[in-house]
Symmetry: C2
Subunit: 201 residues, 2 copies
């Protein structure tokens, strides 16, 4: 191996990014050192700054620089309505959709026995505390429609169904713009079963 | 946008990596901050260390922590034989092949008028200096077989052909393991034209 230890260490570090293998990591390392040292400095600084400042929001458990994130602190949101999601990216996705005006709770994962993630590894204790403290009236379970997400949804349904809270699950069906011909059978079956009535005869 | 400024800045910074768009950058930022802060710290540290220590080798122009890189400093290499490549990754590729025991010169690019890269932007001055200083006897031009690499090879051939140096170009042909049926016509034509004699009748 001809390259220096510092390049080797950088390449190694880049392979720890999700979806980045040894070849891409090498290309990144060389690109930054050969052609864009400014970018390298920006990334190093942004990482360090994020590591130093990003904690979890006391209420929704999302990543936040402040004790209470901007969503939880906003007076414009319905604070009695809670949407439970797996990750910050899922939250972001719902925010982008722009049709939800309640608050969130981010589990930071889903139940996955294969990966050794049980209910205790998710923020379930904190979720229960938030439900009590903030007088939650309705909870939308918006975990993913994967095996892990569905297991998590079932677990939460069981956990919370004794309480005086409206529980709901996000709708399952054919995606907007989807063509039935190309949609998997389970989704089509779900779309038929969960059909929405259009009139009241 | 609900996420914090620090996450936003990190996401932005990651898009400056080659081949990384906004979606991947977001996934990287969330992955590191949610699940692998150790990796985030490793990357930040490795970047900073590389930025602080990596310069160019005085002789071969490759990235190096030392004034003379380990290859140029090695007594095992033939110092009168020079292989000219475009990038450190190309050098690496030849080293991996393990059949070359001379030294290198890394141009850090190729002539590309569309990108505004002319001979002056490559290390051509330094190449000439190295040729004089180290008494080079043979130069293998190993720029890529792309339009830019071929232009660069032609330029170097013209530049150096007046001197008492053996010049050569890497062989063009069908890659090892390649099947003629699936190889492009130019390569096949080249493989026919540059055929190697097997006997001496």
């Amino acid at each position: 191996m001809s390259s220096s230890q510092a390049i080797e260490a950088l390449r190694e570090a880049f392979t720890r990014l999700p979806g980045i293998g040894p070849k891409s990591a090498q290309r990144m390392a060389y690109h930054l050192l050969e052609r864009d040292r400014n970018a390298a400095q920006s990334i190093a600084d942004a990482l360090q700054h994020a590591l130093d400042t990003i904690k979890h929001c006391r209420r929704c458990n999302n990543l936040s620089e402040t004790e209470l994130c901007s969503l939880c602190a906003s007076p414009k949101r319905k604070h009695g309505l809670l949407c439970v999601v797996e990750t910050p990216a899922d939250l972001e996705s719902i925010e982008m959709a722009g049709s939800y005006n309640g608050c969130y709770f981010v589990l930071m994962g889903a139940i996955s026995p294969l990966d050794g993630i049980g209910p205790d590894n998710l923020g379930v204790d904190r979720l229960l505390k938030v439900i009590d403290e903030f007088d939650i009236e309705e909870i939308i379970i918006a975990t993913n429609l994967t095996a892990e997400g569905e297991t998590t949804a079932e677990f939460l349904t069981e956990l919370l169904s004794g309480r005086d809270i409206t529980l709901s699950r996000i709708a399952r069906g054919v995606p907007v713009g989807g063509e039935l011909e190309y949609i998997d059978r389970n989704t089509v079956a779900r779309a038929i079963n969960d059909r929405q009535t259009l009139n009241k005869p």
